[in-house]
């Protein structure tokens, strides 16, 4: 590697470099600028700026041709850059949601935004991974930051429990992933995706490679909380501080899904017959757990946890098609899902009464009378996440089902539609509580950032409809880079 090639490689990594160097600088700023003098606030603002800047760099790079860097360890393509842009913006929104919450809960430490930035960096590396080692390092960078964020409220027993549970199960899943990777390496002689693809097309039925594939998929299924590897999700969503749960539900989900799509279509593209059954099984189980598990929840954060399990199931339906449509439909699905979930968590963060934060579904009672705009926003968001027609969420579901039908998996789509109608029931329950129950008390006014996100996301469920075509062409373009 000469200086020229190194610089050429680094120039394609601009978003990551911005984040990595920025995070290191912010760490120093935070250490020397004490919190008492507003240091943590400054770091928070600068981190948001940093994430938006990194997103800008990713958009700028998307105009260029991209390419492989570091001898094929890291690839820059339209797919990865689209995912990166979405991840950075989602992380910035998550910081916006956390801003006031951390101060009122006395959690305002400068490490919080730095960890979010480092987690986003890990996700960016994941979605660009073109080598099993890059994949693992990106995943660990992201997961480690998330474990710490989950336990960030260290004086709370529930948060510590959530962090510990997440850490132990996450370590187990990393072990599965590594074991699978070592098998794949052993049977193909390389960790590069391109090399594995050659081995997979020549030796598709090799038992060792197949075992490796199954273990890698299981490890990743943990990270996207697909059933039967989902058990950590509701507990972590409930126990972690609410803005952390909001972050968990958005950017990492998209990153892990994009990574899964790349792993399945690039190195293991030739083994589609083998992994299709695994993905279909994961999809059906996730939809079942997500739909029926959510029905009995009384805590809205747990509800969102189960909802995310269910939504991972629907997205897996699209991926199981194993076609290019499957890949871009998943991107579209998660883009719309992130908007919905960010808004829903903004509403949850607005649920503050005089005695503190509340998070039971019943606490939303009569929201339509006390806070009509918030009630409208939540209603639109719930229907959009549930995939009701005439809201943007519908298009996400429509295209993942379309991808599956196109691939001849009609029976799977019928099952998915059935589960989808079950899941509508619990979204409707929330809406019913908002509109038809008697108010039990009024919420305090929400901080400006949170109020803005909830309203903007609520409006986006309708306002994005006219530009849907543009969004679809964007993801088709992004997804076209891989798969097929």
């Amino acid at each position: 590697m000469t200086v020229e090639t190194l610089l050429a490689d680094l120039s394609l990594m601009t978003p990551e470099l911005v984040l990595a160097i920025g995070a290191l600088v912010l760490l120093l700023v935070g250490v020397y600028w004490r919190s008492e003098h507003g240091g943590s606030r400054i770091v928070m603002r600068l981190s948001m700026l940093l994430l938006v800047g990194a997103a800008g760099a990713a958009i700028y790079l998307a105009q260029g041709p991209g390419g492989d860097t570091f001898n094929g360890a890291f690839t820059v393509d339209a797919f990865g850059l689209y995912a990166k842009t979405a991840i950075f913006l989602a992380a910035a929104v998550a910081l916006l949601l956390a801003f006031k919450y951390l101060e009122t809960e006395k959690l305002a430490k400068f490490e919080y935004p730095v960890l979010v930035a480092l987690a986003a960096l890990g996700m960016a590396i994941m979605v660009s991974a073109d080598d099993l080692i890059t994949l693992y390092l990106g995943l660990e960078l992201q997961s480690l930051s998330l474990y710490i964020l989950a336990a960030f409220n260290r004086d709370s027993l529930r948060a510590s429990e959530a962090g510990l549970k997440y850490f132990v199960l996450g370590a187990l899943s990393s072990g599965l992933l590594l074991y699978g990777s070592s098998l794949v390496y052993g049977f193909s002689g390389t960790t590069e995706f391109a090399g594995i693809a050659i081995a997979a097309s020549e030796e598709g039925t090799n038992v060792g490679l197949l075992f490796g594939l199954v273990f890698v998929v299981s490890g990743l299924a943990f990270k996207i909380s697909a059933a039967p590897f989902h058990m950590w999700t509701p507990d972590v969503y409930e126990g972690a501080p609410t803005p952390v749960a909001a972050f968990f539900a958005t950017a990492p989900k998209l990153a892990a899904r994009a990574l899964l799509a790349r792993v399945l279509t690039e190195p293991f593209g030739a083994m589609v017959d083998q992994w299709q059954q695994v993905i279909i099984l994961l999809a059906i189980l996730s939809m079942a757990v997500g739909s029926f598990g959510a029905l009995i929840q009384t805590n809205i954060k747990r509800l969102m946890g189960y909802s995310s399990i269910g939504n991972v199931g629907y997205a897996l339906v699209g991926l199981s098609a194993g076609t290019a449509i499957g890949v871009w439909s998943v991107l579209l699905y998660f883009t719309l899902y992130i908007i919905g979930v960010a808004g829903a968590f903004a509403v949850i963060l607005s649920m503050r009464k005089a005695e503190g934060m509340v998070e039971r579904i019943d606490d939303l009672a009569g929201l339509s009378k006390t806070r009509p705009t918030l009630a409208w926003a939540m209603t639109a968001l719930m229907f959009s996440i549930g995939g009701m027609p005439f809201l943007v969420g519908f298009f996400g579901k429509f295209f993942v089902f379309y991808a599956a039908v196109e691939a001849g998996l009609v029976w799977l789509v019928i099952i998915a539609v059935l589960f989808s109608s079950v899941s509508i029931a619990y979204y409707l329950r929330v809406v019913k509580v908002i509109w038809f129950d008697e108010p039990t008390g009024e919420f305090l006014p929400a901080p400006a950032g949170v109020a803005f996100v909830s309203r903007a996301a609520g409006l986006a469920t309708v306002l994005l409809l006219p530009i849907m075509i543009g969004l679809i062409s964007l993801v088709v373009n992004a997804g076209g880079g891989i798969g097929g």
Partner: protein, 202 residues
């Protein structure tokens, strides 16, 4: 011939000392046998032509991990007889698990089939006329420099996490303040009192 002899000697010592780790009554002896097992494994690595792994095994495992074990065993007051009390009850189950695991490993060894394409695809074949350490160094700090740097970031996150989750700032702790020390003026700390003879400073 000499190599074969060395292999059998090293493996026999490795297996025997591994057994002794489990069966030794005295925990300190168990750790010492563990160190012996590490050394013989390092010898096996040298026979395989992986000198660097052998060195790492000795430096990291013997030099750091095993010594840490020794510290733990000596510092903590653990009643090992009590810990081993349940050993006999679970011996059957544990033995069964051990047999199954060993069976799996042996079966894998017999049915191991390399994928045909391994040779052609091999990512980093050992270069000719280059020592093990030099080859690894050329890979890690040149071709895989990205991984090296990323691993550094992962460790940084771990460090931040340890600090965030455990460090508590206590009030009332006196800390050295260099700036205050150096900028102290004479008049702040020294007072000249004109003492009248025979009266003292009351």
């Amino acid at each position: 011939m000499l190599q074969a002899a060395a292999f059998y000697i090293f493996s026999a010592i490795a297996v025997l000392s591994a057994l002794m780790v489990v069966f030794a009554k005295n925990p300190v002896r168990a750790v010492l046998f563990l160190i012996l097992a590490f050394f013989s494994a390092a010898g096996l690595f040298v026979l395989l032509g992986a000198e660097f792994l052998a060195m790492i095994l000795v430096i990291v495992y013997v030099g750091a991990v095993a010594v840490l074990f020794l510290f733990v065993v000596m510092m903590l007051d653990i009643d090992f007889a009590e810990l081993k009390a349940g050993f006999a009850e679970n011996a059957v189950l544990g033995g069964a698990v051990a047999v199954v695991l060993a069976g799996i490993l042996i079966a894998t060894g017999f049915v191991w089939v390399d994928a045909q394409s391994v040779e052609a695809n091999l990512q980093a074949p050992t270069p000719e006329n280059m020592s093990n350490v030099a080859a690894l160094g050329a890979l890690i700090y040149d071709r895989y420099v990205l991984f090296f740097q990323l691993a550094g970031l992962v460790l940084l996150v771990a460090m931040i996490g340890a600090i965030v989750l455990t460090l508590r700032h206590r009030d009332g702790v006196k800390r050295q303040d260099m700036h205050a020390q150096v900028t102290r003026k004479r008049k702040d700390s020294v007072e000249i009192v004109d003492v009248e003879p025979g009266e003292g400073i009351g």
